[in-house]
Amino acid sequence: MAKITMTVNGRQVSGQCDDRTLLVHFIRENLGLTGTHVGCDTSQCGACVVHMDGRSIKSCSTLAAQAAGADITTIEGLAANGELHPVQAAFKANHGLQCGFCTPGMVMTAVDMIRRHGGQLDEATVRAELEGNICRCTGYHNIVKSILAAAAEMGGARVAAE
């Protein structure tokens, strides 16, 4: 048992857990943030994706102890002041989900992808970047559409702000 401290969605949090506790279980069970899902548990599906120090990672394949001291963002940390993040809004507008199980991971992956590629995202890049995220429902088509729509909207917003 160890006491672990990290920043989650801008708030400093601590919890007691085993050294072997996975980050996803720390987030779901210690912190009660159940938006981050466990899909495959074999590092393949990406339902568990969160951001650690600004980069997308699979929280099912990372120990909570490895994340001690880090800055974590989960799906709950995206919407500011009760307003959906542009990526969340685009998934809603473009019907980018069916059952929704993969969606938190897809959205966190999309936010990371858009941050890295900005306005240069095209369909082929989005599909290649989704390599680590599996959806059993949608056939991906509307997920890709949602991400492209969000990238256009966010890229546009950035240009407008400059």
Partner: protein, 265 residues
């Protein structure tokens, strides 16, 4: 996962000391191989010594054509290094096709070569580039480092701290990715140096891991072009056969990937 004790090392010396003090300990870098293996209970180290945040083991340095990559440098950082792409785009391209973005954000070059998975990408680059593997106690030539399936020349407790190599005149890497895992079903890294030296290293195909193909090296020494490989035979008897591809299929892939790698170099 069985119980384990986690330690975060602050320096190379600290890591080696922590590892020595541990019973059946292991180094932990990106964890992208070790944590899934522990979850499946295929590994049960008593202690984990986390080396991912050791500053002396991170980052890329290019001095002239000499390249040094810290062992704890992530695949993403290798893939996105403009400095490295300027002298050896084949290795940044290789890193950009390992697994998926999340794996590339955590997984490290040191972890990949220490693990020496027969289907991993980096071992072929290390062998073809004639890289030197730097550890806490010595330097090992890549040709002596990869000794078999998941086997390396590393001693118990020996820590890989960096890899170094001279950027060659030309280098290319092409892999036929397993459609599910993205590991190399066959990958070929080719290198040509200004003095005429040629190296062809094959991953994903050999039944004892990464290997050099001397027949292809000889053919390319006479004529550096994809066509030069047309007449070379690839012996299937030492190649892997599994549910993904049998040895004969892999033998053909070795040739096709080598041709593409030369074309891309």
């Amino acid at each position: 996962m069985y119980e384990t004790n986690y330690h975060r090392a602050s320096s190379i010396e600290d890591a080696v000391k922590l590892r020595q003090a541990a019973g059946e300990g292991k180094y932990l870098s990106g964890g992208m191989t070790l944590i899934p293996t522990m979850k499946q209970r295929l590994a049960a180290p008593t202690d984990l010594v986390d080396v991912r945040q050791i500053q002396d083991m991170k980052g890329i340095r290019v001095t002239g054509r000499t390249v040094r990559i810290g062992a704890a440098t992530s695949h993403f950082d290798v893939a996105s290094s403009a400095e490295l792409a300027a002298v050896c785009p084949a290795i940044t391209g290789l890193a950009s096709h390992i697994g998926d973005p999340h794996v590339r954000h955590m997984g490290t070059i040191g972890g990949s070569i220490a693990n020496n998975d027969p289907a991993a990408d980096y071992p072929s680059a290390m062998l073809a580039l004639d890289a030197t593997i730097v550890t806490d106690r010595r330097e090992i030539a890549a040709g002596d480092f990869f000794t078999g399936l998941f086997e390396t020349a590393l001693e118990d407790g020996e820590l890989v701290t960096a890899i170094t190599f001279e950027a060659p005149a030309k280098a290319g890497y092409q892999k036929f990715a397993n459609p599910a895992s993205r590991y190399a079903m066959t990958g070929v890294f080719v290198v040509r140096r200004d003095n005429g030296d040629i190296r062809v290293a094959v991953t994903g195909a050999g039944s004892s891991g990464v290997f050099r193909h001397k027949g292809m090296e000889a053919a390319l020494a006479g004529n550096w072009s994809p066509d030069a490989l047309a007449g070379v035979t690839v012996d299937a008897s030492d190649l892997l056969s599994d549910i993904h591809a049998d040895a004969g299929y892999r033998a053909n892939l070795v040739k096709v990937m080598a041709k593409r790698a030369v074309a891309a170099a």
